[in-house]
Symmetry: C2
């Protein structure tokens, strides 16, 4: 029997079994804890728009029907929202899926993508998973280093340059001017994949105006963060139609579920909800800043719904993370790579989540010192 | 600008713009019709289990949280349902996504997959999309030809043999004995991908007992058909852990949405609903058989929730399809390849859907003759 087992392709056979993120449910099973404060995955505890919830409830019994494989109504709403062409918008079941599709379309096996060292690991997972190579550039003072990124891309002939802006896991951002300067020096044939998952939380000058006809840039947006809809899986990429349309040749056409499409349309129509979440998150970031300072730590400036807190050493960050989970039932995360791993990364929860986190962190730091 | 546009990989650049299925919503936009009877995509108009609907409504506001990326609770329920190991079950956002993942894992570019000529087009879409080659074998008397399939797989050294059983688009089935005989002659290193999307509708002798430790077979099941949950996107593959586990290296870990996981658990616990749908569908198949005979056509025997009706010629099938849509607002589909394209393919709807379809078909056939 074993001599006739199917064989993995060389690319998949060479992949490690590691995955980018272990979910909080898996941590609960592995550690035997019940997580009480879930502020590790940058989920919005402020919740989705009530209009989105209503759309789901009203349509729940219609799930016997497939969603529109062209996602026309939602794409139309998104195109109008950004003032771009319908053919320049493609939907996906989360940004993660879209990252995979663009990597598959624009980076052949053996070709190179450039990103920051310790940046969003799911991008690297997608590149490796399709047989591509990753070249990384260190962060500079806990920010993406625009000149080094574009310089490395030129030096290695990168096919893709990945930039998360605002950035995950640091929460930092590049200005529009810095990003446009990167475009000026992008190597030939290189696609800039601009992951703007946290765009709604960012100051206006972090979001560049980019010519929507420029085929070199794809921007990624999601309903998972400010819209509070991580669990329903809907995101989009937009850019020049010539860059976006080929994704239709490979995407999972019926993959964006019916309820997600309806809920996203409702959410996009409720900008007041987004504005209230953004304001509440700004308050929470300030609160985390004061909490960090009170413990002698430094909170990095953030343009997202989370804050990276520099606790001084990776050992201390790991110890805090473990103690918060095991002793306090508080789930947070931390970056995996130096020097970012001096930080813990905490999602901005509601006031009650933050109060519990503050108490827990104070206790844990006190015990550890 | 154009000289610096990103370039598609050779595999994606060579792909056609055609896609497997145009959705009914797109047909409505293209043809300017409002579809009144939607019986073309094998959606279950009998609807989902009320328990699944309740699960969705109760959890609607929790979509701010990601679903469990390991889908533990649902996989546990599925493993128990089939009496297989937890590590032998992997979830996906529909069978289509899972077909893509297994092709990507087990068929390198340039390698060959074998399927029936005119079989489920999304499998071929996934193979081509990953740079693989497809070899097809004709249907034999409107059924998959097991000996020819396995013979071709041996002759060409296929890495994957795809079999839909019960079959789409014919509705036919192979017996368990016929399938086990295929296994006996499967070439070395070849994976049998057994697409059982319609298994619940099939007679017991169409579903083989296969050693769950045999690494050569992966079976695909979905909540889209008998469970009436096409729109929420949840399916699974199961087989030997050594064949299933490597999919974790490449799958979209957060891709199966939270509501789908909860609804699928509820649906799996409501086998009475499945049984009632299966019984109602059997009634509808008989009714379609009588309708076809009354018009001088032959309904193929079906083990699914649809019936292929042989109307004699491809031209007549195309004319009926077009007239049903344009004149009667009835959406059905038909196979794209000879000789199957002598058939129209009609989903078994509720009694009221079938009554409207019967009236419409009679009018259309009368007008065309």
């Amino acid at each position: 029997m074993l001599t006739t087992a199917p064989r993995l392709t060389p690319i998949v056979a060479a992949l490690p079994a590691t995955i980018p993120f272990v979910g909080p449910e898996a941590l609960e099973r592995l550690r035997g804890v019940d997580i009480a404060v879930r502020i590790g995955a940058n989920e919005s505890l402020f919740g989705p728009s009530p209009r989105a919830v209503e759309a789901i409830r009203n349509a729940a019994s219609s799930i016997c029907l497939y969603g529109d494989p062209e996602g026309y109504a939602l794409r139309r709403a998104i195109a109008d929202h950004h003032g771009v062409a319908l053919d320049g918008v493609v939907l996906g079941a989360g940004i993660d899926e879209l990252l995979g599709l663009f990597v598959r379309a624009y980076q052949a096996p053996g070709e190179i993508a450039v990103m920051s060292e310790g940046g969003y690991p799911t991008f690297a997972f997608q590149v490796s998973g399709h047989g591509g190579r990753i070249e990384t550039v260190p962060y500079l003072a806990m920010r993406n280093d625009p000149q080094a990124l574009v310089g490395r891309a030129r030096a290695v002939g990168a096919k893709i340059l990945y930039l998360a802006n605002p950035d995950n896991p640091t929460g930092s951002w590049l200005t529009a001017t810095e990003q446009l300067a990167m475009l000026d020096h992008l190597p030939p044939d290189c696609l800039l994949m601009l992951d703007e998952a946290y765009a709604e939380f960012a100051p206006a000058d972090a979001i560049p105006a980019i010519d929507p006809a420029d085929p070199r840039i794809v921007r990624f947006r999601t309903f998972s963060k400010a819209h509070g809809m991580a669990g329903i899986r809907v995101a989009y990429a937009y850019g020049a139609p010539e860059t976006i349309l080929p994704i239709d040749r490979i995407r999972n056409h019926f993959g964006v579920n019916r309820l997600a499409q309806l809920a996203a349309i409702a959410a996009l129509g409720d900008q007041d909800h987004v504005a209230s979440v953004v304001a509440a998150v700004a308050d929470g970031r300030s609160e985390y800043g004061r909490l960090a300072a009170s413990l002698g730590f430094e909170a990095l400036r953030s343009a997202t719904n989370f804050v990276a807190i520099d606790v001084g050493t990776a050992d201390r960050a790991r110890a805090i993370l473990a103690a918060l989970l095991q002793d306090e039932s508080v789930f947070i995360r931390m970056p995996g790579v130096a020097p970012l791993n001096r930080c813990i990364r905490v999602t901005v929860g509601r006031p009650e989540d933050r109060a519990r986190f503050a108490d827990s962190l104070q206790r844990v730091v006190s015990r550890l010192s």
